[in-house]
């Protein structure tokens, strides 16, 4: 549905996106992750045709980008923006119209969405009278009003309370079930873990990590053990499969060398002391993110790429 091929974009000699390739398919939620300044927004802007890549190609709906494609993409920018003096419903109809939706249809859909997002009754109020969270929801409506096949959401949850966050998550999930492709760009790793089926981590304009979320988690999980152990810590440190050992109270957290088998470590530990708890720990996406971005755990990075 969306294919980004070796795309590069430079601004005044600074490379914002560096030969990046992505493939996004319908029916899934694709997490686009990265620290500030990683090139996420630039990438999205190129997809939207707001700016043009210096090199590479972007194909949307199996063809290269044209103006018509904009009508089939919904985009929630990170920097929200609405005309403050305009009335809510009129504003939504306008945003629908410039996406090529006839005014009457846009009107109907806007009414339906306003109700769905609990904004019923605000149709004739000026945008500036809405709270920040409400404006956020209104902006989200404008993203989906034209029934797009590809939905790009840049930090959709910022400024929403837990209830509205849940409401929005459910709706995003519905959109996925309807067979749309969804790109979710965010810093909130727990949202990504709950929503995304596939993720891509970019840093400094380059792809660092990509794949189905479950694969990535599995790949990283094998490397960490947590252990409650009565023996000597040095006994474990001497094991060839152990990279390093950290103590957290009574528990030890053991990072393994690549290729080491956790069961070997367990056997080794049982021979030298008493094991009360043994857990092949899951590294949270948050930790993976930080590890990758900070460039820590060099071997991990090697394996990932």
């Amino acid at each position: 549905m969306l294919e980004i091929k070796n795309v590069t974009k430079r601004f005044n000699g600074v490379t914002a996106v560096d030969s990046l390739s992505l493939l996004i398919e319908p029916g899934g939620i694709y997490g686009l992750l990265g620290p500030n300044g990683a090139g996420k927004t630039t990438t999205i802007r190129m997809v939207m045709g707001i700016i043009h890549p210096d090199e590479g190609e972007i194909r949307i709906f199996e063809r290269s980008f044209d103006e018509k494609a904009k009508e089939r993409i919904g985009y929630l920018p990170e920097e929200r923006g609405l005309y403050r003096k305009m009335k809510v419903l009129e504003h939504l109809v306008f945003l629908g119209e410039i996406k090529g939706v006839p005014a009457r249809v846009a009107h109907e859909r806007a009414m339906k969405w306003l109700k769905k997002l609990e904004l019923g009754g605000w149709e004739e109020k000026p945008v500036e009278s809405l709270s920040k969270g409400m404006q956020q929801k209104m902006q989200f409506i404008s993203t989906v009003l034209h029934d797009p096949q590809l939905v790009i959401l840049d930090e959709p949850f910022t400024g929403l309370d837990p209830i509205n966050t849940q409401l929005l998550k459910d709706i995003i999930d519905d959109l996925r079930e309807e067979g749309r492709a969804i790109v979710l760009s965010t810093h909130l790793m727990d949202q990504v873990e709950k929503l995304c089926s596939k993720i891509c981590l970019i840093n400094k304009g380059r792809k660092v990590l990509e794949g189905p979320l479950s694969d990535i988690k599995m790949r990283f999980s094998k490397n960490v053990l947590s252990l409650r152990f009565s023996g000597e810590r040095s006994d474990l440190e001497n094991h060839p499969g152990v990279e390093k050992v950290n103590t957290f109270g009574q528990e030890l957290s053991i990072t393994l060398r690549s290729g080491a088998d956790p069961n070997d470590i367990l056997r080794h530990a049982v021979q030298r002391g008493r094991v009360e708890r043994f857990d092949i720990g899951e590294m949270s996406l948050h930790d993976i993110f930080i590890a990758q971005v900070k460039g820590e755990g060099g071997e991990v990075e090697d394996e990932a790429i």
């Binding site: 920018p77 920097e79 923006g81 996406k99």
Partner: protein, 418 residues
Amino acid sequence: MKLFKVAKREYLERVRKKSFLIGTILGPVLMGAMIIVPGLIFHMSPEGQATVAVIDRTGSLFDEFDQALADTLGDGTRMFTLQNIPFTGQALDDIRRELRFEIESDVLDGYLILPEDIVEAGRATFYGKRVGNIKAISRIENALSQAVIGRRLSGEGMDYDIVRVMLKNVKLETMQVSEGGEKRSEFGLMYITSFIFILMLYMTILLWGVAVQRSIIEEKNNRVIEILLSSLRPFDLLVGKIFGVGAVGLTQYAIWSIFALAISFYGLSTGALAQYVTFTWVTLVFFVLYYVLGFLFYSTLFAGIGSICNSDQEAQQLQTPVVMCLVFTLIIPMAIMQNPDGAFATVVSLIPFFAPIVMFMRINILTPPAWQIALSIAFLIVGIYIAGMVAAKIFRVGILMYGKRPDLREIARWLKQA
């Protein structure tokens, strides 16, 4: 066309405001007042009585001067009261000091020194507080000339009473020739009507041109721009904006034209206002045409400025040269009116920066050759095209730039890139 959706939004947003209605109605009233009030003051101030002292060093010219300065006020009283200050023995400087004191204490409006050789040299000096009162001064000058010329002629042996009759001034009545015949035209009246039109052109072009600029800056600041650009091409956005805002101005012109035509029909049918109606429907057509062209030209310039600025304050700096071009057209009307067909007027009225107002002014005063009007329109259209191309390129890059304002070198690079 998405362009028109943008235009529609821009248009409705402005037309629905109360300030639009108020501005549309009050605009011409205020402008009329701005012109008519100083005009009235100009006309009225010399109509008051003035007391002028005369130091007649010839010792004999006073009576003739007094007779010649017989202008009267509406109620038949004399406009000027002259005091003959005898010039005997006392030093001139002492007399002048006294007179100066009287002027300062508002007993006198001024004093006049007629030197001994005035008949030969033809020079005299007037001292007064309000020497800027052109009408009063020219009246004094006229009367003095009459007296002096009368003296010269009677020196040649002619009877002074005959000379006075012979020297009677000619009053010139001016008639304007235009389609549909001739009508009485007072220069002052035409000046006022033209100036109201010119000021309205100036105000609307400036007001709505800057509105385009502000609306771009506003969209940049509230980040709506990103949503808009993810839906339509920058070109559609720019042109839609210009059309929408321009249409607001056109609506004002439509309202004004209806009023103007209604007034002129009423005036002509009752005859009451006939002499004040100095515009025709041709004037109105050119009025609207030059607004449209002038607005398109200037609003594209303002749009270019808006797209490289982040705030109105920042834009104010950059827009100054553009605004100065418009202001220039308000400084030169006197020069144009004195010689509306001269080289200066002709050249200025062809330059796109000035054409909308200056050419309209010329059309209003006299009818310039058709080729000049056509050429000014053609130049304007070319100007709009070039400004549009440049603005569109700057706009495309500039609207997504936040932070530092680009310098000229950078803008030149954008132009090459796009």
